[in-house]
C-alpha cells in the first residue's frame, strides 16, 4: 500500500520533471517524489535525512536540485527567521502567493494555502512592489 503510493509519487515526479524539457536524473526524481509525498515544507537537512539509506545524495547536489526545482516552479522555497530554507512541492504550477505559519516551539513551518500574502496601505511614492512575504509566528495546534 505504502509501497504503491511511493511508486506513484516517483512516477508523478518523473513526469513533472520531463515536462520541463530538461534531464530527468535520479536525484531530481527522488527529491521531488519525497516532497510530493510529504506535502509540507521540509528543510534541506530533513530531506537529506529522509533520503539516507538509498544511495545518498551529495549535500551540494541536493542544494542544486532544490534550487533547480524552485526555478522550474515545481516547488517553492520558504524563508524563515531561523535562517533555514524549506521547500514544498507546488500543487498547481502557478505560484500561489500564500502566507506561512511558523511554530516557535517545534520550529515547523506550514503553508497557509488560503491566506493570501498581501497588504492594504499604499507604499511610499516611487516604490515598486514585486513580492510579498507574510509569516504568522506562534504555536501550532500540537504545541499549544
Amino acid at each position: 500500500m505504502i509501497a504503491d503510493m511511493s511508486i506513484d509519487f516517483q512516477e508523478r515526479a518523473d513526469n513533472l520533471i520531463r515536462q520541463t524539457g530538461e534531464r530527468a536524473t535520479s536525484g531530481r526524481i527522488r527529491v521531488l517524489a519525497m516532497l510530493l509525498a510529504e506535502q509540507r515544507p521540509v528543510s534541506h537537512q530533513e530531506i537529506e535525512e529522509r533520503l539516507r539509506g538509498k544511495s545518498r545524495l551529495n549535500r551540494v547536489t541536493l542544494y542544486r536540485i532544490l534550487d533547480w526545482l524552485n526555478d522550474k516552479c515545481l516547488v517553492h522555497r520558504i524563508v524563515s527567521d531561523d535562517r533555514v530554507w524549506r521547500f514544498r512541492a507546488n500543487n498547481d504550477l502557478r505560484t500561489h502567493r500564500h502566507a506561512h505559519f511558523k511554530c516557535t516551539r517545534c520550529t515547523r513551518v506550514m503553508c497557509l494555502d488560503d491566506m493570501k500574502a498581501e497588504y492594504d496601505r499604499p507604499l511610499p511614492a516611487g516604490y515598486r512592489p514585486l513580492e510579498v512575504e507574510l509569516t504568522v509566528k506562534g504555536l501550532c495546534a500540537e504545541c499549544v
Copy 2:
C-alpha cells in the same frame, strides 16, 4: 552643527540606556547613538564599518550589544531573506509591529512605519498567533 547633533544622540543614548537600570557602557552608548542618528535599519556589518576609527568594538561584543538593545526594546531586529539581521532604533518604547520593505536591487531595508503587519483570515483551528512578519519586496524609489 553635525558635531552638536552627534553629541545630542550620544546623550539621548546614554539616558535611554540608564533608564533600563543596567550598565551604561561605552559600547552600548556608541551603538545606540549611531542607530538613533541613522533612523533606518542597519546591518551588523554596516555598524561595524561606521564605528571603525574610534577604538573599534569587537565583533562578538557588537552582536551581544545589539541583542541586549533588542531585549530592552531600544531597537528592533528585522530578519530578511538575505540571512542578515538589521537593527533600527525604536522611536517609542512600545514595539509597534509594522511592515518592512526590502529593495532587491540595493538590498536596503526600510520600515513601513504606518503599515501594520497583520492578516485577515482565521488561522487553522488550535493555532495561536504571537507575532506577524510582513515584508514587501521590490524596488525602492532610488532603484526603479
